[in-house]
Structures are given as C-alpha cells and as structure tokens.
C-alpha cells in the first residue's frame, strides 16, 4: 500500500537531541548525536548492526542514561526529571520492542489491559473492554484476544506489541526493528500498520531498522547512523544518492541482491 500524505509540523519538535554520547565500558556507541523529530513525522533511523540504533531509542525512553548531551521529549528533559515525571512521560511514548516483549504469562487481553489498568485509575470494566477491542481491531487481530503469546506467530506478536502501546494513545511511537525476522508479506503488513498508526493516532515516530523496504515505505525522512553519528539525513532518495562506501552496499544489498 502506498503511503498516504501526512501533515508534518516542522515548527514543532517533539524530540530534540543535542550532543548525545553513550559508551559501554571503553566502546563509544554514540559519539555526539543531534536529532529532531517533528510533530506527525515518521523518521527512519538506519544503520548497521551494533551502531547504537536501539541504544538511541532506549536513551529517549529513559531506559538508559546518556554519558553526555541532552534529550528533550515533549518539552521535558529526560535525563533531569523525577521518576514520577518520567513515568508520566512514558505513558505518552509507545515503545514497540524488537522481539515484541509480550508478557508470556498473560493472555493477549491481559497484555493489553496491563498498562491501561495501571495508568488510568478508576477506569471501568466496560471502558477497558472497549479500549482493548478498539486496538485489537486497529491491528486486525480481534480473534486472538484470549490466546497466549506462545500461540501467536511472529507477525501477530509484533502487531499485539504495537497494540499494547497504542492502548495508551501515545503521541510518540518508537519502533525497534519492526520487521526483523518476518517474511516479506508480513513485513509489508507491518509497514502498512506503521503508516496507519501514524495517520489514525496522529503519532510522530522513530523507526529503527536496517530493512530498506521498511525505510522507504514508512519514512518521511531517513537518517543514517555511521560511526556513532548521523552523517546522512534527508528523504530516502537523498540519503542513498551517494557513492560513499559505507552507504552504497546497504542499498545494493537490499535492492540488487
């Protein structure tokens, strides 16, 4: 499905990162990153494995602490807020994990209810059921409501993972390798779902991937992480219009092989 036109507000940065650095022991992963995500935009972050793409979104959501730099999310500095404020901020951010991270011991219904019940105090049973059915309908998996995660396919797990984040109506979505390990048809379905979420829920998203089909079909803008920094940024075609030996093989592998 071709990506429909979306309205992006380039005057409103929902995420603003400046001079971000992160190292693990002696290995510097991110070496001074500047990045803006605008309201309504889908930004794809590309890069080789181990270049710190996932680290970047974990830093944005406060799961990791940066060594240096600032991360401003929805007007709040993530590294300098209280635990309570961070918890409230996280409700406004949806995080779709690479392996879905569904709670193994709970049914799909319980997985979806879990964040809702704990973040919306006093919510009625009827409202919970409506919210669960709505997000399941949005990801097209209403029939799986009473199934356990172990009974779902990889693609279904990804969709339920996305549904679990949507149930809190997030303003920002962070997708970690949304198409990793999926067959090409399921990849297309997930890409369409990402675009649908952007339109229906008016979210701004960062999509971490090394799948160029996903990047091309979901991204309004692409940023390429090279040697711990964003060295190429722009539309998909602009980023790959280069002979840079660090970038070209990426394109060649995905579209020639």
């Amino acid at each position: 499905m071709k990506k429909a036109k979306v309205e992006i507000d380039y005057t409103n940065e929902v995420i603003k990162i400046r001079g971000l650095k992160k190292a693990f022991e002696d290995f510097a992963v991110l070496r001074g990153i500047d990045l803006d995500l605008y309201q309504g935009e889908n930004l794809v972050v590309l890069g080789r494995s181990g270049t710190g793409k996932s680290v970047l979104i974990k830093l944005i959501s406060g799961l990791l602490i940066p060594d240096h730099g600032t991360i401003e999310v929805l007007g709040q500095e993530v590294t300098h807020i209280t635990d309570k404020a961070l918890q409230e901020l996280r409700i406004r951010i949806g995080f779709s994990f690479q392996n879905s991270a569904l709670y193994d011991s709970m049914t799909v219904r319980k997985n979806l209810e879990f964040p809702l019940v704990r973040n919306r105090k006093g919510i009625s049973r009827k409202d919970i059921d409506v919210a669960v059915e709505t997000v399941l309908d949005a990801v097209g998996l209403s029939q799986t409501i009473n199934q356990m995660p172990s009974e779902l396919s990889g693609g279904q797990r990804k969709r339920i993972g996305i549904a679990r984040t949507l149930i809190l109506n997030p303003e920002i979505m962070l997708y970690d390798e949304p198409t990793a390990g999926l067959d090409p048809i399921t990849c297309i379905e997930i890409n369409d779902l990402i675009n649908e979420v952007q339109q229906r829920y008016k979210t701004s998203s960062i999509i971490i991937t090394h799948d160029l089909t996903c990047a091309k079909s979901t991204g309004d803008r692409v940023a390429m992480l090279l040697d711990g920094k964003f060295e190429r940024e722009g539309t998909f075609d602009e980023v790959f219009d280069t002979d840079d030996p660090r970038v070209k093989p990426f394109f060649d592998y995905n579209f020639i092989h």
Partner: protein, 269 residues
C-alpha cells in the same frame, strides 16, 4: 618503580585481578543493599498489588507443597528412628516425643522448609524474572509507565515472606506425624498421648524463634531470587546463572541466618 606495581611483573596481574574481584564483591554488596532498600520503599506504599500477592502466595505454596509433605514426613520418621537406639541405652524412650518436638520445632521445620523452598521457589523466581529481563518484558513494563519492581519484586518477596512461615508450620505438623508413626509402631502410644508429650517441653520462645526464623528465611529466598533474576543479563546463559545463583546464595544465607538467630535466641533461654 615498585616491582609489584610494574605491569610487566606477573604478580601485578594477580594482584590487580584480586583487587578487581574485591571491588566487584563490594559493588555487588552495595547493589544488593540498594535493592533491599528499594523493596522497603516501594512495598508498603499504595497502590498495593494485592491480587498478584495472593496469586504469588498460592504459587509458592503449591510449588513446594508435595515436596514439603514428603520431606517433612521422612525427616520426622527418620529422626525418631535414628534417636531411638541412643534413648534405649538410657531406658528413656518415653522422652522420644519431647526430643522429636524440640528438634523439629526449634530447628528442622524452618530449616527443611527453607532449603526446599530455596530450591523450588528461589530458582523458579530467579529463572522467571531472568527470562523476563532478557526478553525485555521488564523493560516493556517500565516504558509503559508501570512499575515492574513493585509488580514483580515486591509481590514475590512478600509472598515468600508470608508463605514460608505457613509452610514451616505445616512441615512441623507433618514431621511430628512422621515421628508419631514411628513411636506408635514401636510403643503403641496413642495420638493424644503423643501430642501431649510433644507440647510439654515447648515454650513460647520456641514458637516465636521458629516464626522469626521462617520469616527471615522467606524474605531471604524471595529477595535473593528476585535480585538474581531482575539483574540478570547475557541472554539465556544469564537465566541459568540467575536460577543457580538464587538457589546457592539463598541456601548459604539461610544457614548463616540460622546460626545468628540461634545465637540470639539462646541468650533468652
């Protein structure tokens, strides 16, 4: 240059490894200390996850019930059987119920229960939380604005702290039953008479000490299992290490606590 501080000297490497290990040990002790403080900070502040605590209590009880029943009975039976020859020498077999009751109530019931629970419950908590950590389920809870520590750790530690004393009481009862079977078979003592003799030598301190011990053991098993699982890493290997670490550390600490509590309570006798 001092020869030992010379990096070329093999002694330097040995000492630096020792120093690093020592540093790691104290860092680990510090992290455990922070983990325990966090438990007390979060466990008694609303909202309480009562439903999950009840579920965990049920799980802990069910997981250990069969094994505790069998082990408790055998311990009581064997202890009575092994003590009999010594008492026969002094013509004091009538003291057997009292001896069994003191041994079981003061030491065996809480200790046997704790050791079994360390193996069954501690390893299970370590593996469960470890697997949740490596599959990013704990991170998923955190980023969805919920408190995984409260939901996963506090509930499990409270469950073991509540359930282990109940299981220890049950073990004591089953152990005494094992003792009774042996005594009844050999002396034909009635159940009522056996029980009267069982409670005769026991004092209030025996019950209190046993209860305090069981609470301490329950807390230790829960907190060690949760700590190992919650902080596990290195993928599936980390899950195995968390389960193993939970059992070994909990058992070791249970024995240390046993010594300390026995020393303290003996001052009040």
């Amino acid at each position: 240059m001092d020869s030992v501080s010379d990096p070329i000297n093999p002694e330097y490497k040995k000492r630096s490894t020792f120093k690093r290990r020592l540093n790691n040990f104290f860092a680990e002790v510090y992290r455990i200390h922070l983990f325990i403080i966090r438990f007390f900070k979060e466990a008694f502040v609303p909202p309480f996850e009562l439903k999950e605590i009840v579920k965990q209590c049920f799980d802990v009880g069910v997981r250990s019930f069969t094994l505790i029943t069998v082990t408790g009975f055998i311990v009581g039976l064997i202890f009575t059987k092994q003590s009999r020859p010594s008492l026969i020498t002094f013509g004091a077999t009538s003291w057997l119920p009292s001896l069994v009751s003191i041994a079981i109530m003061r030491a065996l019931a809480p200790l046997v229960t704790a050791l079994i629970a360390s193996g069954k419950v501690g390893s299970s908590i370590g593996a469960e939380l470890g697997s949740m950590r490596v599959t990013e389920q704990i991170d998923a809870m955190e980023v969805s604005g919920t408190k995984p520590f409260k939901y996963l750790v506090c509930t499990r530690v409270l469950a073991t702290t509540i359930t282990i004393p109940i299981l220890a009481t049950y073990t004591a009862f089953i152990g005494l039953l094992g003792g009774y079977v042996n005594v009844a078979t050999n002396e034909g003592t009635s159940y009522t008479s056996f029980m009267q003799q069982v409670f005769q030598p026991l004092v209030y301190l025996d019950f209190t000490a046993s209860l305090i011990k069981s609470i301490a053991f329950g807390f230790t098993i829960g907190i060690v299992g949760c700590y190992q699982g919650y902080n596990s890493n290195k993928g599936t290997e980390g899950v195995g290490k968390a389960a193993n670490g939970a059992v070994v550390t909990a058992m070791f600490l249970v024995f240390i606590e046993e010594i300390i509590i026995v020393q303290i309570t003996s001052n009040f006798r």
